[in-house]
């Protein structure tokens, strides 16, 4: 009994020491909370978990330097549902008092961008969208649909393609990009061989591929997330549908399926970062991993460099935003970055081809 009581006392005193240590830290370094509403469950959980890991790694790497503030990441699951995302944003503002929020993909990004403007919270998105970055408080670290589309249209023209097929998942980002590309193709005199869509739950594309074959396209642009893209690629191969395929960013997830095909991506992906990410998280990097990593870094650097005014403990968000906007030579893992007047962090579009299982830059 005595030994038991002694053990309990020891545990309690150790806990108290820990609390004192935390309190000491909290006393010396003010805390800045950054929230992220991500699909941590559901069909897009693989992507949400990846983004979460990227943010945690970014913070871990930043904490190796001497930071002025103590940063805490607050993650909430939205299951890629707008209602849950809205609840998360409200919670971030009302309860967690976050200073910045990060989102992923267009639907949630658009919701968060309106919220950020209302509540004056910094919002960093990674969304294939032309509108998410608009407004004083919003930033979007992803190549814009227009940039990707114009790069691709130029490539198609140079290669003499005339009939292009479009096949997209019924997801806001994919549909938005599909429309942008389609309009640009039509403006440039291309023929649309087909314009088809599939629900994210689709796992059998064989009839769709039969229909595509009948239209004889010169090339097909397909925009869909994993696992749709892998299953589609597998079935395209099985049905011997030998046509040039193009996609944004997702082909490298299954290079054996897309050997010889081109895809659009951000400028100069950094191989060292991908290895660092895989080593630390045991996850394969995917589209937006590097963008999210850089996005968090930009926010933290903004806070670190912003002036503190009027006897506040922390810089105001508006001053942080000024620092971010003025830094047009931010050293990201993606490339040297700057922010344009629409809040887009400029990443030029490049075309890469999968050759011997590895991405090789074809055109910038």
């Amino acid at each position: 009994m005595k030994k038991f009581l002694l053990s309990v006392c020891m545990v309690l005193s150790l806990t108290a020491c820990d609390e004192k240590k935390e309190t000491a830290n909290a006393d010396t370094k003010p805390v800045i909370k950054i929230g992220a509403t991500l699909p941590l469950t559901g069909d897009l959980a693989y992507a949400g978990q990846n983004m979460k890991a990227a943010m945690e790694l970014s913070l871990k790497d930043l904490q190796k330097t001497n930071l002025k503030y103590d940063y805490k990441l607050v993650f909430e699951d939205d299951g890629y549902e707008l209602k849950k995302a809205q609840q998360n944003l409200n919670r971030f503002n009302d309860i967690e008092k976050v200073r910045a929020v990060m989102t992923f993909w267009g639907n949630i990004g658009t919701l968060a961008s309106n919220f950020a403007e209302q509540k004056h919270i910094i919002h960093m998105a990674c969304a294939l969208s032309d509108v998410v970055g608009k407004g004083k408080y919003n930033f979007n670290h992803a190549t814009t649909p227009k940039e990707h589309a114009s790069t691709l249209v130029r490539y198609y023209k140079e290669h003499g393609y005339k009939r292009i097929g479009l096949f997209n998942a019924v997801l806001a980002e994919c549909v938005e990009f599909g429309e942008t590309l389609k309009n640009m193709l039509l403006d440039e005199g291309f023929e649309i061989a087909f314009d088809m869509q599939a629900l994210p739950s689709t796992r059998d594309f064989k009839v769709d591929i039969l229909k595509m074959k009948e239209t004889n396209p010169d090339a097909v642009f397909v925009e869909m997330p994993s696992p749709m893209i892998e299953i589609f690629g597998k079935q395209v191969k099985e049905m011997a549908f030998n046509v040039p395929l193009t996609n944004i960013n997702t082909f490298p997830s299954a290079p054996e399926l897309f050997e010889g095909h081109i895809y659009l991506t951000e400028k100069e992906g950094n191989q060292d970062f991908y290895e660092h990410f895989e080593e630390n998280t045991q996850l394969r990097p995917m589209p937006c991993t590097a963008n999210v990593y850089d996005g968090l870094k930009m926010i933290v650097e903004g806070f670190e460099k912003a002036e503190i005014k009027n006897d506040n403990q922390l810089p105001q968000n508006e001053d942080v935003i000024d620092v971010m906007l003025n830094n047009q030579n931010f050293e990201g893992v993606v490339s040297i970055l700057g922010i344009d007047e629409e809040g887009n962090i400029n990443s030029a579009s490049v075309i890469k081809r999968i050759i011997d299982g590895k991405p090789v830059t074809v055109e910038k």
Partner: protein, 288 residues
């Protein structure tokens, strides 16, 4: 195009048919909407994935994956459904319990294997069988052959074996079966294990064909269930051919309209049959 459509109907329908037959079999002795049917199939796939990753030979992987599904199905029956049934739980309560089990299962799979899409075998190299007019992946050919074999086996088992007779007796009237001394719980357990084997086969085949995701169980379950109800939940043949009919309707719908119509067509047919012909296409012959 028509030939390809028919062949794809056979391939996709065979996948649905395995789950439909399992659903029919389980429902025949334990009539409630069992959501864990999807989980049992998914377990087979993921056990195969884990064993392949550990370098276990393929033949052993398949055997162990099927055993795992069968064991899981049996344990669910012994541990959850039988005790609840013995305490007088209604089919609605059992269904809710199965939903809870499914949710837990999906979370556990997510925790162990992550949420990223996985495949059995090398996704880039599919073994193809040349039939002259077209090439078909080996796994899809196997799915068709195996589903027909299982359909034949289950028909034989149910109509030409003593255990099959007992199962049909419990299906006809569990009360009478109990009165004449048939051990209902034991029979239900045997059916659960048998169902587990069938679902495990589906999980492994689907894992090779279209890959594995923690959330795939519901889709497998719903398509199998719809197929079973369309064909006639009261008969095994109904479940089998109902699944093929569902695949045909979906494929024709996609061919004529658009890919997004696939699930819509499935559920419209489902509602139509429930409203207009709830006994399904193959109405069970009634004793006179």
């Amino acid at each position: 195009m028509l030939l390809h459509l028919l062949i794809n109907t056979l391939i996709v329908g065979s996948g649905y048919a395995l789950v439909a037959m399992a659903f029919r079999l389980m429902n025949s002795v334990s009539p409630f909407f069992n959501m864990t049917i999807g989980a049992i199939a998914v377990l087979g796939g993921y056990v195969a994935y884990a064993l392949l990753g550990a370098g276990v030979p393929l033949y052993l992987v398949v055997i162990l994956a099927l055993l795992a599904s069968a064991l899981f199905s049996g344990l669910l029956e012994i541990g959850i459904y039988t005790p609840m049934r013995n305490h007088g739980a209604s089919p609605m309560v059992l269904m809710v319990a199965s939903l809870g089990v499914y949710t837990i299962f999906e979370s556990v799979i997510h925790l162990i294997f992550g949420s990223q899409y996985q495949t059995l075998g090398n996704i880039g190299s599919t073994k193809m069988i040349d039939f002259g007019v077209m090439e078909i992946p080996l796994v899809q050919v196997l799915m068709v052959i195996i589903s027909f074999i299982i359909w034949g086996f289950l028909n034989y088992f149910l109509h030409h074996t003593f255990m099959g007779k007992k199962i049909r007796a419990v299906n006809d009237s569990s009360t009478l079966a109990d009165i004449i001394g048939l051990k209902n719980n034991q029979i239900i357990l045997i059916v659960s294990v048998l169902t587990g084997f069938v679902l495990g086969i589906d999980g492994v085949l689907v894992g090779y064909d279209t890959g594995l995701e923690p959330t795939m169980g519901f889709n497998l379950l719903f398509k199998g269930m719809i197929g079973a109800i369309i064909g006639g939940i009261a008969t095994l043949n109904g479940a089998f051919f109902g699944a093929l009919f569902l695949a045909f309707a979906e494929n024709v719908g996609v061919a004529l309209f658009a890919s997004e119509w696939r699930d819509l067509i499935a559920f419209v047919i489902f509602i139509a049959f429930l409203s207009l012909r709830p006994q399904g296409i193959f109405q069970k012959k009634e004793m006179k």
